[in-house]
């Protein structure tokens, strides 16, 4: 088998972060290579380099494709040569039909006029190939996520794909859809000789479909192996992915847990547009002083929706149930009221919901508690600056100065700015939604340390996370959420990933 792709010595830097450091990956013709690593290991960045999202010149290193050196200026360049990437967030237009989506930007047309019969004929053929039994004119919005993923693959096939890149293709799929997708990949490889790179951190999937494997960690290639190497099993892969034992990744702490601070009873939340659809279904939980409480679950389990419905009813309709804080009924119907009641919500999407990116660190930090740096409605610049500077030092925001615009900070430092904003509002209860998503390992440790210190100060913290090791590493107690319901509760010392998964899987029965 000859080599279709070779990436040599790829290095890519962002302000403040070295995302890739001398990475080497190669793919042979007709094989599926798995690319594994933790969040933030650099997998997606590497694929963006390969597909030209980061154009030639913005990174160091060499890309050889079909033996030729490549310098892609954009996605169009790489697509023309048959390198097709399917992103984790699907890139389909929900209001258009399957056929329109498949040939979007690549329409079958004569002098600008689309040939619909031919489009449909080819769509039917492609759908058959990917095993999707749907009419070509069905709106993509009406398909489930699994089927949408298949449409993406059909779209890739329509472009004469020679190297398919899949970025966590099953992350939002249920087990049945995942299996179907993986079978399809194997089938395409065996029948059509498709070469592919699959990014994943689900090792069972990797074992099922991959011929070879490359492990990335902290932006570096740790190892590249053939899956047939029997001395290299899942335990070895995990060791290489994590790179250190579990105990070093989380700060040690001795929990000092006090009385119940918050109690949520019979919390029900309906979908904001689909009336009658329950997103949070009769959730009951309590939170104690000094406690770090975890909420585990898969993507789409309703955890963010639960958090945002509690925080000023920012999400959902027809919300019922009761919240008691320190024993008294709490009115959380608007965000200012929720903040006043002592709540803070640190969003999972800091760029869209957390920061004013064009403004400086100094102006972002006091935003949730501007009165505290103002007198009779007039902001005291000096107080504001000293507050911002205090947080810069206290939680170690790495920046040139507090006058730096937050858009130029690395993910970890942006997260620290968002955390600072909420710490300055002095809440009793912090809800942290995916607090370490997309930030590097060093910064993660710092965020964990902040969480531990906040708990030690007597704050109560709810951590929502899709990374189970993280929840097991930093929380005191866990709730497991699935399809809008709390399906289990565990003291963290008794919890394992298997137990949590079992709770999720068994909850449907």
């Amino acid at each position: 088998m000859d080599t279709i792709l070779e990436m040599r010595g790829i290095t890519k830097e962002f302000p403040g972060v070295k995302a890739l450091d001398n990475v080497n990956v190669s793919v042979r013709r007709g094989e599926i290579r798995a690319l594994v690593g933790e969040n933030g290991a650099g997998k997606s960045t590497l694929m963006k380099v390969l597909s030209g999202v980061y154009p030639a010149g913005t990174y160091d290193g060499e890309i050889l494709y079909e033996g030729q050196p490549m310098a892609f200026r954009g996605i169009a360049d790489s697509e023309e040569l048959g390198i097709i990437i399917i992103h984790q967030e699907l890139a389909l237009v929900p209001e258009l039909s399957i056929a329109e989506n498949i040939f979007l930007g690549n329409e079958i047309a004569h002098r600008g006029i689309i040939d619909w019969p031919e489009t449909k004929r080819r769509t039917v053929a492609l759908l058959e190939k990917v095993g999707l039994d749907e009419h070509p004119e069905t709106k993509v919005d009406d398909l489930g996520l699994g089927k949408q993923q298949l449409v993406e693959i059909a779209k890739a096939l329509s472009k004469d794909v020679r190297l398919l890149i899949l970025d966590e293709p099953t992350s939002s799929l249920n087990e049945r859809d995942s299996d179907a997708l993986l079978d399809l990949l194997i089938d395409l490889r065996d029948r059509e000789g498709l070469s592919a790179i699959m990014i994943s951190h689900k090792l069972n999937e990797v074992s099922k479909v991959a011929d070879s494997l490359t492990v990335l960690r902290d932006g570096m290639t740790v190892t590249s192996r053939d899956m047939s190497d029997s001395s290299y099993g899942e335990a070895e892969i995990i060791r290489d992915m994590v790179g250190r034992s579990m105990s070093d990744r989380y700060p040690a702490r001795t929990p000092k847990i006090g009385e119940t601070v918050m109690e949520v009873r019979n919390w029900m939340v309906h979908h904001p547009t689909h009336t009658g659809r329950l997103v949070v279904d009769n959730v009951n939980f309590h939170l104690r002083r000094g406690e770090v409480l975890g909420i585990a679950g898969l993507m789409g389990a309703g955890r963010t929706e639960l958090a945002m419905s509690l925080f000023g009813q920012e999400y959902g309709r027809a919300i019922t149930g009761e919240v008691r804080i320190n024993g008294a009924h709490a009115d959380l119907t608007t965000i200012p009221k929720a903040i006043k009641a002592g709540l803070a919500y640190v969003t999972e999407d800091r760029k869209s919901y957390g920061l004013v990116l064009d403004e400086t660190i100094r102006r972002n930090i006091p935003l949730a508690n501007l009165e505290a740096v103002a007198k009779r409605g007039v902001v005291d610049d000096r107080r504001e600056a000293s507050v911002a500077d205090e947080y810069r030092r206290r939680i170690n925001i790495k920046c040139a100065s507090i006058e730096q615009e937050t858009v130029n900070l690395s993910g970890g430092n942006q997260q620290k700015v968002v955390l600072s904003k909420w710490l300055f509002a002095d809440p009793e209860i912090l809800i942290l939604d995916e607090p370490t998503r997309g930030i590097d390992v060093g910064a993660k440790f710092e965020i964990y340390t902040i969480i531990a210190e906040l708990a030690a100060m007597g704050k109560s913290i709810i951590v929502i996370s899709s990374e189970m090791p993280e929840l097991l590493g930093i929380t005191d107690r866990l709730y497991v959420m699935n399809e809008g319901r709390f399906v289990g509760e565990l003291p963290t010392p008794e919890a394992t990933q298997e137990k949590i998964m079992a709770m999720i899987v068994n909850s449907g029965e």
């Binding site: 919901y353 004013v356 935003l367 409605g377 007039v378 030092r393 006058e403």
Partner: protein, 405 residues
């Protein structure tokens, strides 16, 4: 990292900061602020030369200010609307409507002009609220709400005036727009009070700037290199004093100039220093983040529209007083000049970026070009073309700068 301790362990925050950046890198970062001022100067010099000095003749300078006063007044309000991420297309029509309302009240119904003025301002605020209500609380795009408002108030103006011009106004009312600060010293052919006002305003600006710079020095936050500080405020002081001197040799500073100066000062303060101003910038910069930070976005957007309505009403009074009549055509397409001024002044279409002073400078760039090109005898056709291209160039420059920065 020690959250438990409330006192910072290291007492010297200044040592943690890098040395002040070089003048060049500072200039690059603040290109749009200086660029616009520089552009105004270049344009003024250009027309001063090509019109053989007519541009800065006292009588023309006075005219220039009177002609642009209502645009400047509205640009101040529009800046806040645009910074919050919205737009108001109705201001021209509201200006016309309020002028008509004032004329009907004062001329036809003989309402005392002070009372009529107050009613007009209140009416403007109510109109702003009526539009802001839909934008803020019902999330109807402001473009559409105010486009509707533009049609509605254009129609109401016609209805109110019954298609006729109404005027003239009593003399005292006209003084809003055509009056000058009184001369109490009686120096021959020289309005001493005007010069003094100019000197006092310049002195005030210098004092405030120096004070805030000293505060910055104490807090260790100085960014602007000292020569820039001196240059900028030196230029502003000289320009103000020289301008008031020039106008003192004619009839003195127009009353409208005082009104404008007050508005600029007040709204700059509101935009930069108050919690309300900060929050408006935050809403425009990232509406969702602002909302999740507990900022009452709806109320503030409502407020910016109410304020815009009131300022459009004020501009309507000034404009009517200046023409000494209310006509059904008053205010047509003024909204475009106002919006252009704000964007030339460096505001961003997506919100969150822009300054009051920038918007005012933008208004004067348009004003000086109108005035200069008219003196040169350039037809209205080419004036429009050139103004359009200047607007495009200003925004392209902004975007290019942002990409590079």
């Amino acid at each position: 990292m020690d959250l438990a301790k409330s006192t910072p362990p290291k007492p010297s925050p200044r040592s943690a900061r890098p040395a002040p950046k070089s003048a060049m890198s500072y200039l690059r970062k603040h290109m749009r602020e200086y660029g616009i001022l520089f552009a105004l100067i270049v344009i003024m010099v250009f027309f001063q030369v090509t019109t053989d000095g007519i541009l800065l003749k006292p009588v023309n300078l006075t005219n220039l200010i009177l002609q642009n006063s209502y645009i400047v007044i509205m640009a101040v309000g529009m800046l806040l609307v645009i910074v919050s991420g919205n737009i108001d297309l109705s201001v021209g029509s509201v200006l016309g409507f309020i002028g008509a309302l004032a004329a009907v009240m004062i001329v036809n119904w003989h309402v005392p002009y002070v009372l009529a003025g107050i009613i007009c301002l209140a009416m403007g605020a109510v109109i702003g609220m009526a539009q802001g209500f839909w934008v803020a609380f019902y999330k109807i795009p402001s473009f559409i709400v105010t486009l509707a408002g533009m049609l509605v108030f254009k129609g109401l103006t016609l209805w109110l005036l019954e298609g006729q011009s109404v005027g003239p106004f009593p003399e005292n009312f006209q003084l809003i727009a055509s009056g000058f600060v009184p001369d109490i010293f009686g120096v021959e052919r020289f309005n001493m009070v005007s010069l003094m006002v100019g000197v006092v305003v310049a002195g005030g600006i210098l004092y405030l700037a120096t004070r805030s710079r000293m505060e910055q020095v104490r807090a260790g936050l100085v960014e602007e290199p000292f020569p820039f500080f001196v240059g900028k405020y030196g230029l502003i002081t000289i320009a103000l004093v020289y301008m008031s001197y020039l106008m003192a040799t004619f009839r003195g500073l127009p009353n409208v100039f005082i009104v404008m100066a007050l508005l600029i000062a007040i709204y700059s303060f509101v935009a930069n220093r108050t919690t309300v101003g900060r929050r408006i910038y935050a809403i425009g910069g990232n509406a969702k983040a602002a909302k999740l930070s507990g900022i009452p976005s709806e109320k503030l957007i409502f407020l910016t529209f109410a304020n815009m309505g009131m300022l459009a009403a004020l501009a309507g009074l000034v404009f009517a007083a200046r023409l000494n009549t209310a006509t059904p055509k008053a205010g047509v397409s003024f909204e475009l000049d106002v919006i252009a001024a704000v964007f030339i002044g460096g505001a961003s279409m997506s919100g969150g970026v822009g300054t009051i002073v920038g918007a005012v400078v933008g208004a004067f760039i348009m004003g000086v070009m109108n005035n200069g090109m008219s003196i040169l005898g350039i037809g209205i056709d080419w004036q429009q073309v050139i103004k359009g291209l200047v607007l495009l160039a200003a925004v392209v420059f902004d975007v290019y700068n942002k990409k590079k920065g």
